[in-house]
């Protein structure tokens, strides 16, 4: 049944640090690489080497600029994938039961054998986390690398989602939000983790850490950057003084 579970034992999800993300898109690529060759149908590309390439991705990085009138613009890279919502609208609209939220860990998955490719779940998702694969005609979405995180055939340190494992900036963290002592719960509490579009009432599990205010940093270091010493000593100072006299 595509009814949502009342509660889940674990709430596995990601913390994404908007302050740390450098926008390198490594998570996008590693996600595509892992997920095109593992769980479910491959993530196809259409016209990959032609004029209008289009492909299926489960994770994409947008880049935004925030500007206040009297302050310099601030750039934020914004990785976006499934938020594994507690009140996932994509699950309840599914007519076949292909979309479901797991009771044991809260991961939202698609059983591709039951998917008729109606696309209604992608419409229901406010975040654009689901993409229909053009080659397979079934809905694809982030699985939280369900085939990695429980995989006993790979080393312990690899048992995290591919995006988390690959992030060179350490901007992505994986853990259980149901446990208040977990890494993700603590990070989210300390850094005021945010819900995306809370007004949509989806109760996302994934949390985003806001960028640290840049104005604080500038006010501290600006004097150091702008101040120039009037006198230069040593050899260069001698050249300076000599040239001045000429």
């Amino acid at each position: 049944m595509t009814s949502l579970p009342q509660s889940t034992e674990k709430k596995l999800g990601l913390v994404i640090d908007l302050d740390t993300c450098v926008g390198c898109h490594a998570c996008v690529i590693s996600c595509k690489e892992w997920n095109t060759s593992n769980y479910g149908a491959p993530l196809s590309d259409m016209d990959a080497y032609g004029a209008n390439p289009v492909g299926t991705f489960l994770n994409r990085v947008h880049t935004f600029e925030v500007k206040q009138d009297d302050k310099p613009a601030q750039v934020t890279h914004f990785p976006k994938s499934c938020l594994h919502c507690e009140d996932a609208p994509c699950v309840t609209v599914c007519p076949t039961g292909a979309s479901y939220k797991r009771v044991e860990d809260g991961i939202v998955l698609v059983n591709e054998n039951n998917c008729i490719g109606c696309g209604l779940c992608a419409w229901a998702c406010p975040y654009g986390a689901r993409e229909m694969d053009a080659a397979e005609g079934v809905m694809k979405k982030c699985t939280l690398c369900v085939d990695r995180i429980y995989n006993e055939n790979i080393p312990q340190e690899d048992r995290v989602p591919s995006c988390v494992r690959t992030c060179p900036a350490g901007a992505r963290h994986f853990g259980d939000f149901a446990d208040p002592q977990s890494n993700v719960s603590i990070l989210s509490a300390e850094r005021a983790g945010m819900d995306m579009m809370p007004e949509q009432g989806t109760k996302p599990v994934n949390k985003y850490l806001p960028p640290r205010p840049k104005s604080d940093i500038t006010s501290d270091i600006t004097p150091a950057l702008t101040a120039q010493s009037a006198e230069t000593g040593g050899f260069l100072g001698w050249i300076d003084r000599t040239l001045e006299k000429l």
Partner: protein, 291 residues
């Protein structure tokens, strides 16, 4: 939203078909058996043809039977089950009417009620979408029902009812457009809430995540149609409702007038339904700096 022809045809035609079943089920149209057969066949062609068209929209149409399993949570599933049930019950009613000349009142009422429920379910597929503020409104089911009733009355030659339904539909359609125009702003979603960065200042997209397009943008960020929205609204309103209402209520009834009213209404219906999709903005557009 992308105005896919299959979905426009599906909602428009099945609405008309089930609208006809409402009036035939309620006992309207006292005609000889052969004529009754023509009307019943027409209702089936419209409802069935519409449903068949919706299958073309699917990535895996061969698995459509699986869509009948999730009636407890999914409006799409309910719509599928109800449409099959309605066509079945109405079929028994129609067979008894045409072949045995027995028009069983109770059975007809049940078929009419099921038809209304089916139309309502179709509308709820769209009305339930919180992510599409324009659709997420009581006006969506009201519109779908009125379109079905007005068209159903017209196609079952109920001149007076159809005429007044057209007038009611015109009012409802205008209200839906006006409310719909403010729905996105009212939803509270903007680039600030979408990114969580709203508190830091004015947010704009600096760089898209990809140089080309993608499924999301093709399916949900359809901006072409809105350019001519006002002209298309005028066309939909005048041909879909005003002209049929005037033809039906002001002129003496006749076959030519009826045919004109039907053709005009169909043109308006398809224009309005195209706009229903093309004008609807999905909140995911905010991540692309578009609506």
């Amino acid at each position: 939203m992308h105005p896919a022809p299959s979905v426009i045809i599906f909602t428009a035609l099945s609405g008309l078909g089930f609208g006809m079943m409402v009036f035939l089920g309620l006992g309207y149209l006292n005609v000889v058996v052969l004529t009754a057969f023509v009307f019943v066949a027409m209702a089936y062609a419209l409802a069935g043809g519409g449903l068949l068209s919706s299958l073309f929209h699917l990535g895996h149409p061969e698995r459509f039977l699986k869509a009948l399993t999730q009636w407890r949570s999914s409006w799409l599933s309910r719509e599928g089950i109800l449409s099959i049930l309605t066509m079945g019950i109405f079929g028994i009613y129609a067979i008894l009417w045409i072949f045995m000349d027995m028009r069983i009142e109770l059975l007809g009422y049940i078929a009419a009620l099921l038809s209304i429920w089916t139309i309502f379910s179709t509308s709820m597929i769209y009305a339930q979408m919180k992510s599409v503020p324009r659709w997420n409104s009581a006006m969506t089911p009201i519109l779908f029902m009125l379109y079905a009733f007005a068209g159903g009355a017209l196609l079952t030659t109920q001149v007076n009812i159809a005429g007044w339904m057209m007038a009611a539909l015109a009012v409802a359609q205008i209200v839906a457009w006006l409310l719909g125009d403010g729905a996105f702003a009212k939803s509270g979603s903007d680039m600030g809430t979408a990114t969580g960065l709203g508190g830091l200042g004015k947010v704009r997209l600096l760089e898209k995540p990809h140089s080309g397009t993608n499924y999301l943008m093709k399916e949900m960020v359809y901006v072409i149609g809105r350019k001519h929205a006002l002209k298309l609204r005028i066309i939909a309103l005048s041909t879909g409702m005003v002209i049929p209402a005037v033809l039906l209520l002001a002129l003496p009834p006749g076959h030519m007038i009826g045919l004109l009213a039907i053709l005009s209404h169909m043109l308006g219906l398809f224009t309005a339904r195209w706009l229903f999709f093309a004008e609807a903005e999905h909140v995911v557009g905010l991540y692309y700096g578009q609506r």
